[in-house]
């Protein structure tokens, strides 16, 4: 039986893609991300108090999704598995090729990131939160959002670069095809 669309649906629907992008950045796979968005929607529909203004409503939705995710994995080892994937290092020579960056290489690169790095990219780049909004949502200082995001992007660029750049075989000199 189809559920009738409620006013809550109308408010939530515009955020679905952003929620799914954020959920995907947290879970790393579509099935879990879909379940997460569904659980988030269920909680939002059954909530007694719903923020009235649009920005607060959006932050509230994403916080619900984040809390559902944390509840689901709190007793699990998922967080422990997602510690930094790369050793900290300063960016040396800049060697990233813009042409390698696209949605496909980004998706692959995201898989190699830690949970906290995937999350910050999901919030800022996919869901469009400001640093301050993301900081409030996660519960960390704005400065931490800035440093975490910049590190996440650095790792992502490195992963994309290392995953894609292959040395072409050298051509034999003097041979024409």
């Amino acid at each position: 039986m189809r559920r009738r669309q409620s006013p809550g649906d109308e408010r939530l629907t515009p955020h679905l893609s952003g929620l799914f992008g954020y959920a995907l950045s947290l879970c790393g796979n579509r099935e879990d991300a879909r379940d997460l968005v569904q659980n988030c929607a269920l909680k939002a529909f059954t909530a007694h108090r719903v923020p009235s203004d649009a920005p607060a409503y959006r932050t509230w939705l994403f916080r619900i999704l984040r809390n559902v995710f944390i509840d689901e994995v709190r007793s699990k080892s998922a967080f422990a598995l997602c510690i930094e994937s790369f050793a900290e290092s300063q960016p040396d020579a800049f060697r990233y090729e813009e042409s390698l960056i696209n949605s496909l290489t980004l998706k692959r690169g995201m898989q190699a990131l830690s949970l906290e790095h995937r999350e910050i990219i999901g919030l800022v780049d996919m869901a469009g939160f400001t640093y301050e909004e993301a900081a409030q949502l996660i519960g960390i200082p704005t400065g931490t959002v800035m440093s975490r995001l910049s590190r996440a992007r650095k790792y992502l660029l490195r992963t994309i670069h290392e995953d894609n750049v292959r040395k072409l075989p050298e051509r034999s000199k003097g041979v024409r095809n």
Partner: protein, 262 residues
């Protein structure tokens, strides 16, 4: 090659529109003056654009089937699936005619893996698996169990002195570590799934064509392990992906089981 004058963090904030007007103008000047800074800003902007581009439109119909009610309405399906799997489990034979060398190798590979100090899901594990199979010429099949919480985490060839084969490690989010060891062997085994319990632990084994499959799991709930084994045996035999019924049943058994890490 010169290092950029502007910090990486500041460039990120610039691209994100997080700097004030004065700082933003400063960075804009640096972008205009320094090709390296400009390249970094372009890369950050490209990442942002790719992230937006990667967003998939979500069908609002998802709201018509929230997760929890869906599970309730599907209870009978899950129940039926459990019944099927339970029936399958009853058909598992307790066996003592399993050739010991395969079990020893499987136990060794499994033990080496779980003793690693920092097991983690390898992002490229699925690709490594595919490459390994192609490279080694093995015609084995390792099912994707990620939808039931078990992820490809570890792929290694078994030591050459033991013949040709692969150890595939699945890692769960609740601390489960399950090994599927596949080896070429001339020793046939009666058809079906065989449970064994030797001095190194319990497991399941089966034979398909010229391959022996051994499944081991550290601290996994025995009922869940048996159900997973029945499904994995079936999938490796049919080379199929998890059906909706199997997935539901395994998800249900996972929910009911104690976490491996508990």
């Amino acid at each position: 090659m010169t290092l950029p004058r502007t910090s990486w963090e500041r460039l990120n904030a610039y691209v994100d529109g997080e700097l004030g007007p004065r700082e933003s103008a400063e960075v804009a000047r640096e972008v205009a003056d320094d090709a390296m800074v400009a390249a970094q800003v372009a890369a950050i902007a490209a990442l942002k654009a790719a992230a937006v581009e990667s967003l998939e439109p979500m069908d609002p119909a998802i709201l018509e089937q929230p997760a929890a009610p869906k599970r309730r309405t599907m209870t009978w399906v899950a129940g039926a699936a459990c019944a099927i799997l339970f029936t399958g489990f009853l058909a598992i034979r307790m066996t003592s005619d399993v050739a010991p060398p395969e079990l020893r190798i499987a136990h060794d590979m499994h033990a080496q893996w779980i003793l690693q100090s920092d097991p983690r899901v390898e992002a490229q594990a699925a690709r490594i698996l595919e490459t390994s199979l192609t490279h080694m010429g093995l015609v084995v099949y390792a099912p994707d169990l990620s939808s039931v919480g078990l992820y490809f985490a570890h792929i290694r060839a078994i030591p050459a002195e033991n013949g040709r084969g692969l150890h595939i490690g699945y890692l769960g989010r609740r601390g489960c570590m399950m090994s599927l060891v596949v080896m070429e062997t001339a020793t046939a085994l009666a058809p079906g799934l065989h449970e064994f319990d030797d001095d190194r632990g319990k497991g399941f084994t089966w034979h398909i064509e010229r391959y022996r499959y051994v499944l081991l799991a550290a601290r996994m709930d025995p009922h869940r392990f048996a159900k997973v084994a029945a499904v994995v045996e079936s999938l490796t035999r049919s080379r199929a992906v998890l059906s909706g019924t199997e997935r539901l049943a395994l998800q249900r058994s996972r929910e009911q089981a104690q976490p491996c890490a508990a």
